[in-house]
């Protein structure tokens, strides 16, 4: 209990002490009194003043009144003014109109502070009494790159929606019940109408905003004051950077404290004028963002810039002109001046300087006659030259004309006595006036007669013919003068050669085109008294050539020829002439190309066979088509798709012999080539054949062999003629008819020859009516001939062969068909088969009827259909199978004989020809008689038809053998 009482007593004592100390401190640190506020809305600054006694340190507290947010709370040290007031200038980040602010101040002494002063409120525009919608700051101008805070006070009872700067929506901070703030950083320069910032309420009508102008403070350079008249001043300067501010915000200027009316010059230059010169000049410029100043100090005499001369005029002669001008100010009359005259012609511009006191004229020398000039003048002070004044206006004038200079004359002589006098058109400034005409005079020192001709100014050549010149004249001179309004030019004379001496082609030197020109050089010629003439022209030109030339002095021994007319691929001749009192003498000649090209045309090629060789020859390419120096010819073997080079020849050769090629067709191409390449080439073809001598030799050898063989055969046949006769032409006994000695007209029944016995073989597989004829080989005759002869072949009727004696019977063969028919008819009656032969002939190869055989192809043929089925037997040619009908016949008519019987069987040696359709019908009418005894009359032997291979072999038999066979068959002993 005692302890508790003691503790309570101690606590009470401490409390009393603390309260005593506190009361003491408050009594010692005074509370700031008379706090007052003074705001600057434009700068958003508030000046806070109070009376704080002797205290110098204060705590300053600024709150947003409505929301009690602390805006500023800092301890500041402020010395009291003489009046005892302390002041602090505070700058608000937000416009002061945005919301109400509460200000309180307390004194501080170390850790001890006084009580807060009474609150001073800076009333904002968001008070309930002002219900309008508002935005701040309004129309503020800020420097580029700075930050700015906008605030928006929405209308009373309205709701805030959004805040926008330019086209962006900006986040906002609420400052009070109705106020919202948004900060924009790093502002970019605005255009003349500023940046728009605005806030929106919930409805479309709730919109309000502010415009802010962003720019730069003034800045300028090159501030200089000058004088034109030694009295007044013109100051000008340059603004390297636009302020981007306009109207009320634009930069204003003053010089030496006097406002000036700025004149805007080009390139951001500005100018201001004052009536009196002052030694010191100060330019001050200012705008809402700041100000800038420059100074200039100068004596008036060192800043003289004369005004441009006025009223320029000229007095022009042919070679000079005088320019005069006037001064606007009389001050210049006694002022030493230096003036610059700029003289401009069509291709030149020069400045000429003149000086003098009060200079008012200048004489321009060395002008060209009849030339257009323009001139302008500017001047400066001769003493203490500062700079040139501005140029005067430009005026133009033309100098007078003057007689022309002598024309440049040359000539072109053809091979004969004709030629041309040539002269060049005047270059600019050489005619000294418009040329009116040219006068060309031909004269001779030996003759007083002069031939003068006047030609138009557009004519630069005149033909001459020296054939009419008297033979007594040793020299003819051509003189040319030009005429312009000022008179005649000095004559230019040229001696004409009465005889043209040309150089040999070997004497022509090639010249290369180097660096855009043909470099020509020559040895100095002692006879050249007035220099040299170098002419050039296209080498292809022969008469009246458009020649160009230059004349050089006698000390010159080389020259480079340039011309825009030079073309690649064109050969030019360059001729050097010596100039003397006589006619020009040709000293040297060159030829060259600016650039060689491949020939534009190809050679004309021809080929010729020489024995087993081929001679290729070609003509030269015309010189105009060579387009370069020909280096040679390339000879190619052309196989259509590929060229095989055979030879490369020089230009001297125009033929080439190809040897060792086998017989056949060949194509050759020859291409001429220059350093630029080959032409397209000329092509020719040839077929290499065996030579005629060899052919004749072969023919003669063949004929010799053939003749030798014939001789041998003939000799053998002669030696063995009996055997031959007995073998091939056995003796036929003469019929002995006692009563009639005439040659029998009917058939002669003979026994078949043993070597051509024909008998009918009846094959078992055949129809009984299909009989075949079988030739019994001659070899069989010896062995089996007798047996066969005795053996009855045809069991029905005896077989007999009936021959026409060709020697006796001279009637044509074909008309015998009726006879044969009749014979057949008679044989039908007799029931025998008669075969009548008129000769021996191989199948289808009779030489005698070759023509008939050919013609018979047009005739209807009767070909037995069964011949294809016959195999080795004999059958009558007219024997038709029973099943043969008209259709098959008609079809068989169209078949050639060789086809009809190709498969085998037998066929007639010659085609049977029916004389008339009736005959054909008649033949067909014989069909029913098949199978019965038939007599067949034939004018030829029937030979066994062979196989196809044999037939082919037959065709290869030599005609000589056939001829021999026929010869033997027709030979009678």
């Amino acid at each position: 209990m005692t302890l508790n009482a003691m503790q309570l007593l101690k606590f009470t004592w401490l409390l009393i002490v603390f309260m005593s100390l506190s009361s003491w401190a408050k009594d010692v640190i005074p509370i700031p009194q008379q706090v007052s506020l003074s705001e600057n809305l434009k700068t958003q600054q508030v000046s806070i003043s109070w009376v704080g006694g002797e205290a110098t340190t204060f705590d300053l507290l600024i709150l947003r009144t409505e929301l009690n947010d602390t805006v500023f709370y800092e301890t500041v040290t402020v010395a009291a003014e003489a009046s005892g007031q302390s002041k602090f200038l505070w700058t608000s980040a937000e416009p002061l109109e945005c919301t109400s602010l509460s200000f309180r101040v307390r004194s501080r002494s170390g850790q001890l502070t006084s009580d807060w002063s009474s609150t001073q409120i800076l009333q904002g525009n968001d008070s309930p009494t002002d219900e309008r919608m508002q935005a701040y700051p309004q129309d503020k101008t800020v420097p580029a790159g700075s930050n700015i805070t906008f605030c928006c006070i929405i209308g009373e009872g309205k709701s805030f929606d959004s805040f926008h700067f330019i086209s962006e929506s900006i986040n906002v901070t609420r400052l009070s019940r109705r106020t919202y703030a948004a900060t924009v950083y790093n502002l970019k320069p605005s255009r003349s109408y500023g940046h728009n910032a605005y806030c929106k309420g919930k409805t479309e009508a709730e919109l309000y905003g502010a415009v802010i102008f962003v720019g730069y403070p003034p800045l300028f350079t090159d501030f200089i004051c000058e004088t034109h008249d030694l009295t007044s001043a013109v100051c000008h300067w340059t603004e390297p950077r636009k302020t981007q501010l306009l109207g009320r915000r634009q930069t204003r200027y003053s010089i030496n404290g006097r406002n000036c009316s700025v004149v805007h010059l080009e390139q951001n230059r500005k100018q201001c004028s004052f009536p009196r010169w002052e030694e010191n000049w100060k330019l001050l410029g200012w705008n809402p963002l700041g100000e800038y100043s420059l100074t200039d100090i100068a004596d008036v005499r060192s800043r003289v810039v004369p005004l441009p001369p006025e009223e320029l005029s000229t007095v022009a002669n042919a070679r000079n002109a005088t320019v005069t001008w006037q001064w606007k100010l009389n001050h210049y009359v006694s002022l030493p001046l230096v003036c610059q005259v700029e003289l401009m012609s069509s291709d030149d511009k020069t400045k000429r300087t003149f000086s003098g006191v009060g200079l008012r004229s200048a004489t321009l020398l060395d002008l060209y006659p009849y030339e257009e000039y323009s001139v302008k003048v500017r001047c400066g002070a001769q003493q203490n030259f500062w700079r040139w004044g501005n140029w005067s206006k430009t005026i133009s004038f033309q100098t007078d004309s003057e007689i022309p200079s002598a024309p440049d004359v040359w000539m072109w002589m053809n091979g004969d006595t004709t030629g041309q006098i040539l002269w060049k058109p005047y270059e600019p400034r050489k005619s000294h006036g418009p040329i009116v005409s040219y006068e060309v005079t031909l004269w001779s020192p030996d003759d007083i007669t002069r031939h003068t001709q006047i030609v138009s100014p557009e004519t630069f050549a005149m033909p001459v013919n020296l054939s009419g010149i008297s033979i007594n004249n040793t020299k003819v001179i051509a003189s040319v003068v030009a005429k312009n309004p000022a008179g005649l030019s000095p004559p230019e004379s040229l001696g004409l050669p009465l005889h043209v001496n040309d150089l040999d082609s070997e004497a022509i030197t090639k010249v290369d085109f180097r660096e855009g020109a043909f470099p020509l050089s020559w040895q100095s010629d002692a006879n050249s008294s007035c220099g040299y003439i170098v002419e050039w022209y296209e080498a292809s030109c022969q008469r009246d050539c458009p020649v160009e030339w230059i004349k050089v002095g006698e000390e010159i021994t080389n020259v480079s020829i340039k011309s825009d007319a030079f073309e690649p691929g064109v050969r030019y001749y360059f001729s050097l002439y010596s100039c003397s009192s006589e006619a020009p003498e040709l000293l040297k000649r060159w030829e060259g190309y600016t650039r060689e090209l491949a020939p534009s045309s190809s050679v004309q090629l021809s080929t010729e066979q020489q024995d087993s060789d081929i001679l290729i020859s070609w003509s030269e390419i015309p010189s105009t088509h060579r387009r370069g120096f020909l280096l040679g010819y390339n000879v190619y073997l052309n196989n259509g798709s590929q060229l095989t080079k055979l030879a490369s020849l020089s230009t001297q050769e125009n033929s080439y012999t190809v040897k060792g090629f086998p017989l056949g067709s060949y194509k050759f191409t020859v291409k001429a080539f220059t350093s630029a390449g080959e032409d397209t080439g000329g092509t020719a073809s040839i077929t290499l054949e065996s030579s005629a001598d060899w052919l004749i030799f072969e023919i003669l050898a063949t004929l010799g062999v053939t003749a030798l063989a014939l001789i041998i055969v003939t000799f053998v046949c002669y030696k063995k003629r009996k055997w031959v006769k007995s073998a091939f032409y056995p003796a036929i006994p003469e019929p002995k008819v006692p009563s009639d000695w005439s040659t029998p007209h009917g058939t002669l029944d003979v026994k078949p020859s043993p070597h051509s016995m024909v008998h009918i073989v009846e094959k078992p597989e055949w129809d009984s009516s299909k009989e075949v004829l079988v030739v019994i080989p001659e070899e069989d005759e010896d062995d089996e001939g007798q047996g066969i002869r005795d053996e009855p072949v045809d069991t029905d009727e005896p077989t007999s062969l009936r021959y026409y004696n060709q020697v006796v019977d001279e009637r044509p063969i074909r008309p015998r068909y009726p006879d044969s028919s009749a014979s057949s008819a008679s044989s039908m009656d007799s029931g025998r088969t008669d075969v009548t032969y008129t000769g021996i002939q191989t199948s289808g190869s009779s030489l005698v009827f070759q023509s008939d055989s050919q013609s018979s192809s047009d005739q209807p043929l009767v070909v037995p259909e069964s011949c294809g089925g016959a195999d080795g037997g004999y059958r009558p040619q007219m024997q038709l199978p029973p099943e043969n009908d008209n259709a098959s016949l008609a079809q068989s008519h169209s078949l050639p004989e060789s086809q009809a019987c190709r498969s085998g069987g037998y066929r007639p040696q010659n085609n049977w020809q029916l004389d008339s359709p009736d005959e054909a019908d008649e033949r067909r009418s014989l069909a029913p008689s098949l199978g019965s005894p038939t007599s067949i009359a034939s004018t030829q032997f029937l030979l066994p038809d062979q196989s196809s291979d044999e037939l082919a072999e037959e065709k290869h038999q030599s005609s000589a053998a056939t001829w021999l066979t026929n010869l033997l068959s027709t030979t009678k002993p």
Partner: protein, 221 residues
Amino acid sequence: MNEHVKSRSLHLCTHTAATLLSLLLVMVFDSTKATVATQQCGSTLLQTLKLARFAQKESVDIIKTYKASQGDMSEIICKVSLSGLPDPNISGLESSEQMSSVHSSLQEFSPHFKRVFDQQTDLQLPDSPLLDQLSVISRRSLYLDSQITVLYQQLFPNSPPLGADGGATSLPPPQNVFQQKVYGCVVLKTYKEFLSNVSKYLRTLKNQMCGINARRINMFF
């Protein structure tokens, strides 16, 4: 019988001729009336109508230029409404009263145009096309007003002449730049709406005064 037929035919012919003659007289009268009406309404009214339409077209063009010369989001600026501007509507019941109302409004617009021109001079470069167009529409409104005055005198010769000043025009107090931009746009929009009403009024007046024939003629204008 024949006599009766002939008499009936003669009567029919006479009746037809009389009808045709009456129709012809009506046509001649109508033509004369139309000619007189055309002469009365021809030149001044039609010229005034054409001028109003042309001024209306110019007002459309200048609004486009104006919006393009006020910076970004100028479209929304032109949606703000302001008070204290001339009424775009034409008041009055009688035609003469309506024409007088047009005259008064045109005179009221004139100081507004000057105010807008001055304000924009502070915002635009000296060679801005907006300044040129503002000058043009200001002069055009004066010319249209003079045309209206002449037309009024022609159509209502017995009515008291239109006042020269049109009454005192109340201009808005000094404005910040944002308000100036809004004000200029609203002035131009109001002027455009007013010219539209004037054109409608003049068209109606033309129809009343000139009739169908005038419409036919007007088709060619």
